[in-house]
């Protein structure tokens, strides 16, 4: 039932938004809304079908279905609040990292992100956390900054921006040595 509500809401929201770009296109009869509206209509039909299937047959795997990985179907015990908290932390730490990329930049945020992920995955030996963090950070700098000169986010807040500038300056000096 929750699934049906979620899918219906997605369909309604997307349909509502089609009125924002409902402009005719001179060379194309169906306009910009034709294709998305057909998809939304089909989505609503299939959502109704899914609800019908759920009421009639439950949520069991249909016979003859292919490509369903066993790992996707394994039941998980969330009775322990600490487990749930850990899962939520793992799901949202990358978002926090992504959010910080603009103000803080990749060069300053990456070491903390690496260490946090290692810790969240259960590693508690600080020597290992620090040494692996340094190793991964060195790979990041060696591959993407020194070798590929990839433009990574530098941040726009001091002192993080200054630190990014320092790393890039070091890279320029290194490149000049070659």
């Amino acid at each position: 039932m929750i699934e049906t509500v979620v899918w219906s809401l997605i369909a309604i929201i997307f349909f509502g938004y089609t009125f924002e770009f409902n402009q005719p296109i001179e060379i194309y009869k169906f306009g910009a809304t034709g294709w998305p509206r057909v998809i939304i209509l089909l989505l609503l039909l299939v959502t109704a079908g899914n609800l019908y299937h759920h009421f009639k047959y439950g949520s069991a795997i249909q016979k003859g279905r292919v490509g369903i990985a066993e790992t996707d179907e394994s039941p998980t015990d969330y009775s322990n609040p600490a487990t749930l908290a850990k899962i939520i932390a793992i799901l949202f730490t990358p978002f926090l990292f992504a959010y910080l990329l603009k103000p803080v930049g990749m060069y300053s945020a990456a070491p903390f992100f690496i260490a946090a992920v290692i810790w969240l995955f259960g590693e508690r030996r600080w020597k290992w956390i620090i040494s692996i963090t340094i190793l991964i950070y060195a790979i990041l700098l060696g591959l993407f900054v020194v070798t590929l000169n990839a433009p990574l986010p530098q941040g726009n807040v001091s002192p993080f921006y200054d630190f990014s500038g320092f790393i890039l300056k070091m890279n320029t000096l290194l490149q000049q040595l070659w």
Binding site: A60, R65, I114, V117, I136
Partner: protein
């Protein structure tokens, strides 16, 4: 043909500098294909300015070689970590990664090496023999209606793979199609669903979405297992597939070569749909359909043969008609133009030497996959011995850079992690990640070609059925959907 091929071979290997460029392309393509987060496109983009200093044949040959080996390279991470190096390697992960979980990583990578080489070599041979006639046939018979029909058929097949029920398979594909409508519409350039973010005008990029749905969601799944004490480290398997095992899949290989080659000829479709169609056809023809997705060797063989079979075919519209089939072949057009050349029919008359050096290089690059791939495989398999808590941050960081680097948008990183969470939740509730990804990839191509096709036939849908290839594909897609609808309502398919 043989004389031309031998002349191309001697020109390729007669000059040490050309050989060095060839070797660089082979190794670079494999490495960039195999590093999660970057791809052969990254390498090609970096190298593009430097090709101005090379001979035209060397520049075009370098890109052709990177295309062949990079397409294979992405299979390694797809198999070992569920991280497809490129969209065309996504179906390889469906069975390759479960094989790794079962301790059969060596078998999966070995099959990918061998089948990539077979698919690529076969494709190169057909390309050499039939570029001109095939290009002439394609230009007369393949237009927007046929490409739309192929997309329709591909989506109909995709909905039957991965979901717990056919309804969820369809919902997954439709979700992918809906996500693909974000950004400018392909006909009038009108902004759709940008929700106030100007960056969304360019749409949802494939790379962040694929990295999110596959790599990030996999990290989350494994994190959940760690947190709940169910984590089971993948076992390192060094056994390669036996000759008998591969011989048993000879029809799958042949079928995938045909599917891959046909998809490769079509501009804008290329290796990605080839891999999905190769996989889908393997499922359709298999007697043990339910084993797919759980670590079936045939799944890896089909998708890897098909995507490499598309590489040679993709050169046909490029060289014979001047039409690039994808991002990398579009860069090759730039290489031609840097040297005051235009790819197209005249290139066969004006620069036959260049054409045959490129053909020979692609043939030998595909053979190199076999030798270098088998040598490097055992080394790469040791990556699995790294504890997951140390591998996870590296994968997440590489994925972050991979998502950011192509367009320089932090929004793409957000999209990737959002897709990761969505993928994690949808996998747990029985939806099909491959279906979403294929819907996303083919959505825009489908809409664009449908619009062009409708304009072409003056909005008369009946004209679609007067075109033989188009009608065959539409009927095949409709039959696939009809079979799905029958199963959806049939008590026999739904009884426990």
């Amino acid at each position: 043909m043989v004389e031309n091929f031998l002349a191309g071979t001697s020109a390729l290997f007669g000059d040490p500098f050309t050989v060095a460029i060839f070797v660089f392309g082979v190794v670079g393509g494999m490495l960039f294909g195999a590093i999660p987060g970057v791809s052969m496109l990254t390498l090609a983009a970096i190298l593009l300015p430097f090709t101005a200093d090379l001979e035209p044949a060397q520049g075009v040959m370098l890109f052709a070689v990177i295309y062949c080996t990079g397409t294979y390279g992405g299979a390694i991470t797809a198999i070992l970590f569920n991280i497809p190096g490129a969209p065309e390697n996504a179906p390889t992960a469906f069975d390759g990664y479960p094989m790794t979980r079962k301790g059969q990583s060596g078998k999966a990578v070995g099959a990918a090496v061998l089948c990539s080489a077979i698919g690529g070599v076969a494709s190169a041979l057909v390309m050499m023999a039939a570029t001109e006639p095939l290009a002439n046939w394609a230009i007369r018979n393949i237009g927007p209606p046929e490409i739309f029909a192929l997309v329709f058929f591909g989506l109909a097949v995709a909905s039957s793979v991965g979901g717990r029920t056919i309804w969820k398979g369809w919902m997954s594909v439709l979700l992918g199609l809906l996500i693909a409508t974000i950004g400018q519409d392909p006909v009038g350039g009108i902004n759709r669903y940008n929700f106030g973010f100007t960056d969304l005008a360019a749409g949802i990029a494939f790379v962040p979405a694929i990295l999110g749905f596959f790599a990030v969601s996999e990290i989350f799944v494994q994190a959940e297992k760690k947190a709940t004490g169910q984590f089971d480290a993948p076992k390192v398997g060094m056994s390669f597939p036996t000759v008998l095992e591969l011989w048993m899949h000879k029809f799958a290989v042949l079928r995938s070569i045909l599917v891959g080659f046909f998809c490769g000829i079509l501009p804008g479709i290329g290796a990605t749909l080839a891999a999905f169609m190769g996989y889908g056809e393997a499922v359709r023809w298999s007697k043990n359909k339910e084993e797919f997705g759980k670590g079936k060797l045939e799944g890896v063989i089909s998708s890897e043969t098909a995507n490499n079979a598309a590489t040679g075919a993709a050169m046909i519209p490029l060289l014979a008609l001047g039409l690039p089939g994808g991002a990398l072949t579009a860069m090759m057009v730039a290489v031609f133009q840097m040297h005051d050349l235009e790819p197209g029919p005249l290139v066969f008359y004006n620069s036959p030497d260049l054409i045959w050096i490129v053909f020979a290089a692609m043939f030998y690059a595909n053979l190199s996959i076999l030798f270098i791939g088998l040598i490097e495989t055992k080394t790469i398999l040791y990556l699995l011995k790294i504890p997951f808590q140390f591998l996870a941050p590296l994968i997440l960081l590489l994925a972050t850079i991979g998502a950011y680097i192509s367009r320089g948008l932090v929004l793409d990183v957000m999209v990737m992690f959002g897709a990761g969470i969505l993928g994690f939740l949808l996998r747990r509730t029985g939806y099909s990640i491959p279906g979403i990804v294929l819907g996303l990839i083919l959505g825009k191509i489908g809409e664009q070609n449908f619009a062009q096709g409708m304009q072409m036939v003056h909005y008369d849908l009946g004209t679609y059925f007067s075109r033989p290839i188009c009608s065959i594909l539409i009927v095949a897609g409709a039959l696939t959907l009809a079979a799905g609808i029958y199963r959806a309502f049939s008590p026999a398919s739904n009884s426990a």
